[in-house]
Each structure stands twice: as structure tokens, then as C-alpha cells.
Amino acid sequence: MTAFFTETVPGLFNYWVVIALMMIGFYTVIAHDNLVKKLIGLNVFQTSVFILYISMGTIRGATAPILMDGPAGDHAVYAHPLPQVLILTAIVVGVSTTALGLALIVRIHEAYGSIEEDDVLAADFATQDAEQAEEDERSRAAKAAEPHAPSGGDDGAEHEDDPRR
């Protein structure tokens, strides 16, 4: 147990940070209603992965992976450059996602006047319910108007039977 606190925790410090950030970000994405906060949560979540990649390329006591000339270069230990390059790509992807997400939020705000997911969904459901009511009304009217309506009636009966078969 003591080894856990003296070695594992400080030795794997980066990874603990990664896990903490990942959970904070993921929780924010799931739990928050505000779309901007969701997006920020997503950013925190992605950042944790960036740290994960950078951490795995690190060597204790190593310098930045820039080739050095002369005697200093012969014995130099370099950090692994590949994870850093990979994560640069992932950062670009993250920036693009954030820009696109924010652009969508601006448009949502213009269209709905709110960036709370609940409000937007409520507005959507209101429209949807209105449309649904209209549709139902028209279906009923269509079936009433149809002189030979068995096809519609059969359809309704099959709904209830089939899943139980």
C-alpha cells in the first residue's frame, strides 16, 4: 500500500491527470444542458487524450526531439517525436470540431433563441407534436374517406400481433 502512494501515484502522475480530465470532460458532455458547456466538456475530454499521447512519448531527462550537432548530440536522449506529431494532427481535428460546433451553436441560437438543449428540444417537440397531431388527423380522414379501407386496418392489427410471434 505504501508503494502505491510513494511510487505508483507520483510515477504515473500524468496518467492520473489524464483519467481525471477525461472523466471531468466526459461528465460535462453528458450532464450539461448548455450546448457551449457540452462543447467545452468535449474539448477537455480531447485534451486528456492529447496528454495521454504526449506522456507516452516522454523519457525522463530527455530533451526536445531536435537533432543536435557536435558532442552534445552524440549522447543526447530525445523524447519520442512521433506521438507529438500525431497529437498535432489530433489537435487540428479538435480545433476543427470546436469551430464547427460553435458555428452550429451560433446558428441554433439564431434559429431557436436559446442554447439550452432542453429549450431547443422543447421547441422541437412542440413542432413535432403539432405535426404529429395534424398527421394523425389526416390519416384518420384518409381512412374514413377510403371506401375500401381494409389495407389500412390490417396494418394496424399486425402492429400488435407480430412482435409477440
Binding site: 526536445a64 531536435i66 498535432l88 487540428v92 469551430a99 460553435l102 458555428a103 451560433v106 439564431e110 434559429a111 431557436y112 433563441g113
Partner: protein
């Protein structure tokens, strides 16, 4: 923020060095940390600073959005065009070895051109994103 003299003067002083630094990071990127992406962002930040201090309209007059659309596309074409050129020269896509008489120079030239394309596109896109967000009015009424 036009009335803030300090901001205006400092911005005027600082924008040229930012642009020079962007060019340094761009073209020295194959010897030191840097490259197209970083340089593009640094260069764009100079324009964005200009837009913040002197107004988006002034920035738009300096660099019109139509020009950004063209430069962003050209950057991608420079990047991809280099790849196509290497293919025409008999190598694989982005195999810079074939661009010059010997592979070392080939890699050097190839990297410079490709990074230039990346820098142009990144700077254009960053400025375009700024224009789009900054130019959006606070529309409270609902229109779909």
C-alpha cells in the same frame, strides 16, 4: 476600441513583428520547431488582432473574405500539387526525393513547398473563422 490610443499604438507596433515571426516560423521550420500550421496560426493572429482593435470592417477591407476563399483553396492545391508533381516525376505521392537532383535537397524543397501550402491554408481558414464569428450580428429574433 478605436478610441483606446494605447491599444492602437501597441497594436500598430506589434502587428509587423508578429507577421515577421510567422514568416520565420514558416520558413525556418525545417531547422527548428515550427512549420506551416504554427506559422499560419501566428500570422492569422496578427490579422485577428488588427480586426479586434480597428474593427472587423477594417480587417475585411485589408483582407476580403473572397480572397480568403481563394488562398485557402490554393494552399490545399499547393500541398496536393506537390504530391502530384512527385508522382509525375516518377515517385510515390509526396515522395520528395525525386524533386531535386539528390534526395536531401529534394526532401528540403518538398517540405518547404508543402509547409507553405499548409501555412497559407491554415492562416486563411483561421481568419475566415474569425470573420464568420465576429461578423455575426446578435440576432435575437427567430429565423430559420
Amino acid at each position: 476600441m478605436r478610441e483606446h490610443t494605447v491599444l492602437r499604438v501597441v497594436a500598430q507596433l506589434i502587428i509587423p513583428p508578429i507577421l515577421i515571426f510567422a514568416l520565420y516560423v514558416q520558413f525556418h521550420g525545417d531547422y527548428s520547431p515550427g512549420g506551416g500550421f504554427q506559422a499560419g496560426v501566428i500570422g492569422a493572429s496578427a490579422i485577428i488582432l488588427y480586426g479586434l482593435i480597428f474593427g472587423v470592417e477594417a480587417a475585411r477591407r485589408a483582407i476580403p473574405p473572397t480572397a480568403l476563399r481563394i488562398t485557402a483553396s490554393l494552399g490545399v492545391l499547393i500541398y496536393g500539387g506537390t504530391g502530384v508533381a512527385t508522382m509525375l516525376a516518377g515517385g510515390n505521392f509526396l515522395d520528395y526525393d525525386v524533386l531535386a537532383h539528390d534526395p536531401i535537397h529534394g526532401q528540403h524543397y518538398g517540405l518547404l513547398i508543402v509547409e507553405f501550402g499548409v501555412g497559407v491554408t491554415v492562416a486563411s481558414i483561421m481568419i475566415a473563422i474569425f470573420y464568420v464569428f465576429a461578423g455575426r450580428g446578435r440576432v435575437e429574433d427567430r429565423d430559420t
